[in-house]
């Protein structure tokens, strides 16, 4: 497997092409039910993007940060206010600036990482989660003095054309998530990612090689929260279609954290696998409950089963496969390839 483009092998490029064709051509042509877009594809891609952000800080840089939802909220409300207050701002520009605003918060709340690590850092970064939500709740300006608590998100308008139907919104998300994923992969495989990982694996050696801990950690926090910010804005504008601070509570942060752990620490594709699993598993359970047991199992029990299974899986993965489902998938691929090559 010799890389033909940077560190990308021919196989990587073929995979990318297949995914793009499926994502942009096949899905919009074949899937017509709005349910698939609004309940599965759109939240999946939004949360996968946030998971990439969490992956960068946790999986690559090894900083146990817990506050993805806080940065998502910062991005979402920044985007709302930009579109509201800056006349004629293009949606994509608003999205990017929202990301940058979230990144600024990321740098601010990343500062404790220069002093504390591990579980203590986790507690310190929780501050971002609570502070950002509190700030949005406390100052009416962020919510445009709306008293109802729930604000409707504006329509996405790009070059004068509104993107309001589920398929259109899905395509907008694909157009944002694809380049951002590629960019994340470029960073992860290049010198930037090596700096992150060196800090994660052995910070004192990294420093002795000339890697600046201060710069690398804050850079990772900034990029991570940029991804979370953009993801949060997309999440609010396409999935929630409303803005309420409650939607970005600590539960969402934990959800993103679980997506990272189940998907596999330190892998970009693991972000997509982890997000898909956590989103689809409850859907699957519901489906089984309704169609196999015909509603004989109470919905509350099903959601309890969901929690139990997640908890157990989390423990199993932490112990037996810290690299998560992405690694599992690699192993399966190698096994299958081995079967074929024997014949």
């Amino acid at each position: 497997m010799k890389p033909i483009f940077m560190t990308y092998t021919r196989g990587d490029l073929i995979n990318l092409a297949i995914l793009l064709i499926v994502g942009v051509v096949v899905i919009p042509m074949t899937v017509s039910s709005g349910y698939w877009y609004t309940s599965i594809l759109i939240p999946w891609l939004c949360l996968a993007l946030a998971t990439i952000g969490q992956q960068i800080i946790m999986g690559y840089t090894g900083q146990l940060a817990l506050g993805a939802a806080g940065f998502m909220a910062a991005g979402a409300f920044a985007c709302f206010n930009l579109i509201l207050r800056v006349p004629g701002i293009p949606f994509v520009a608003a999205l990017l600036i929202s990301g940058l605003i979230a990144a600024a918060f990321g740098i601010l709340f990343g500062l404790p990482s220069l002093r504390v690590r591990g579980i203590y850092l986790m507690v310190a970064t929780l501050a971002s989660q609570f502070f950002i939500i509190w700030m949005i709740d406390k100052f009416g300006w962020f919510k445009n003095y709306d008293s109802s608590g729930i604000i409707t998100a504006q329509d996405i308008v790009i070059m004068g054309k509104p993107f309001t139907s589920p398929v259109e919104m899905y395509l907008v998300i694909v157009a944002v998530v694809t380049p951002m994923t590629l960019i994340a992969m470029n960073m992860a495989r290049g010198s930037t990612g090596r700096n992150w990982m060196s800090v994660r694996d052995m910070d004192i050696a990294a420093e002795s090689m000339g890697v600046s801990l201060l710069k690398t950690k804050l850079q990772a926090f900034a990029i991570s929260s940029f991804y979370c910010g953009v993801a949060g804005a997309l999440f609010a504008f396409t999935y929630l279609k409303s803005l309420e601070p409650v939607a970005f509570d600590i539960k969402l942060s934990f959800k993103v954290l679980f997506m990272v752990i189940l998907g596999g620490l330190g892998t970009i594709n693991g972000a997509f696998i982890g997000a898909a699993f956590i989103l689809l598993f409850p859907v699957l359970l519901n489906y089984i409950g309704n169609n196999v047991f015909h509603g004989a199992i109470d919905a509350t029990i099903i959601s309890a089963i969901e929690q139990v299974v997640f908890g157990v899986l989390m423990i199993i993965f932490m112990i037996y496969e810290p690299l998560g489902m992405a690694k599992l998938w690699e192993t399966i691929k190698i096994k299958i390839a081995g079967l074929f090559s024997k014949k």
Partner: protein, 263 residues
């Protein structure tokens, strides 16, 4: 060693009156010595003599309470690992400090950090400069991998390798920095005779071919006497002998420290 590609020059590193203590425990007391350009300088001494602490002071991991480090005739004002790396001092660690989950090649590539100027935006967007730099760095690291004869394991995560190979990777990472001076903290600890001989060969070859100055801590007296140009002996944080291997070997205080003396 009659003909050397890089003949030994003047002092490149000078350690003056270093004293380091941890609370009430004195690790190093008023220690001074120098390292000449292109030489292989060994630091020896019994366990707990302060050898590793000495290297950590030179490289800035420990901050000595008293004393100064002068590199290339200039007193280093603020000794930190990062600044020393920028000045061209690299190192390996006693208990291995590799990036365990990264591949051998990636570990060595981190050593190229200071030869990488493209920022994260250039890397993210794969601009020509970032690509060019990555290629140059990769080529250099492939050379090192080949030189150290670890070509077949270059894509293996370092954590999965046996100890001896990990030591080699660490040397490789230090070499990748193109440092003028490399501090080797027990590069041969825990190796068998064969591996030690191999490591010696690499150290001598690097010194001979690139002219890298080496400061190494070693316990195996045979090895030290064979490869080093000059030896400094520490005991209880103090210098008790300094000179060529032959001089040190016949120094009464060194013999006493190693063999014990009747009181």
């Amino acid at each position: 060693m009659t003909e050397r590609n890089f003949p030994i020059g003047g002092p490149v590193l000078e350690v003056k009156n270093i004293s380091l203590s941890f609370g009430g425990v004195k690790a190093i007391t008023d220690t001074s010595f120098n390292v000449l350009e292109h030489e292989i300088r060994a630091i020896i001494g019994p366990n707990g003599a302060g050898k590793s602490s000495m290297l950590n002071c030179i490289n800035g991991i420990y901050k000595p309470q008293v004393g100064s480090v002068t590199y290339k005739g200039e007193e280093v004002q603020k000794v930190t690992p990062n600044i020393m790396a920028q000045k061209g001092i690299s190192r390996t660690f006693q208990n291995l400090a590799l990036f365990k989950r990264m591949s051998v090649l990636d570990n060595i590539l981190v050593g190229r950090k200071l030869h990488t100027t493209s920022n994260f935006m250039e890397v993210a967007l794969q601009l020509p400069k970032a690509k060019r730099e990555e290629k140059v760095n990769r080529d250099r690291c492939e050379e090192i991998v080949e030189f150290l004869e670890i070509d077949d394991i270059k894509n293996t995560p370092v954590g999965k390798l046996p100890y001896g190979l990990q030591k080699k990777v660490e040397l490789g990472r230090a070499l990748a920095t193109d440092a003028n001076l490399i501090l080797l903290d027990e590069p041969m600890a825990g190796m068998n005779v064969e591996e030690k001989r191999e490591m010696c060969r690499f150290i001598l070859k690097v010194n001979d071919e690139i002219g890298t100055t080496m400061v190494l801590i070693e316990h195996d007296m045979g090895v030290v006497m064979d490869i080093s140009d000059r030896v400094v002996v520490l005991d209880y944080g103090k210098v008790i002998g300094d000179g060529t291997p032959d001089e040190v070997r016949s120094n009464q205080r060194v013999i006493d420290a190693y063999l014990g003396v009747e009181h």
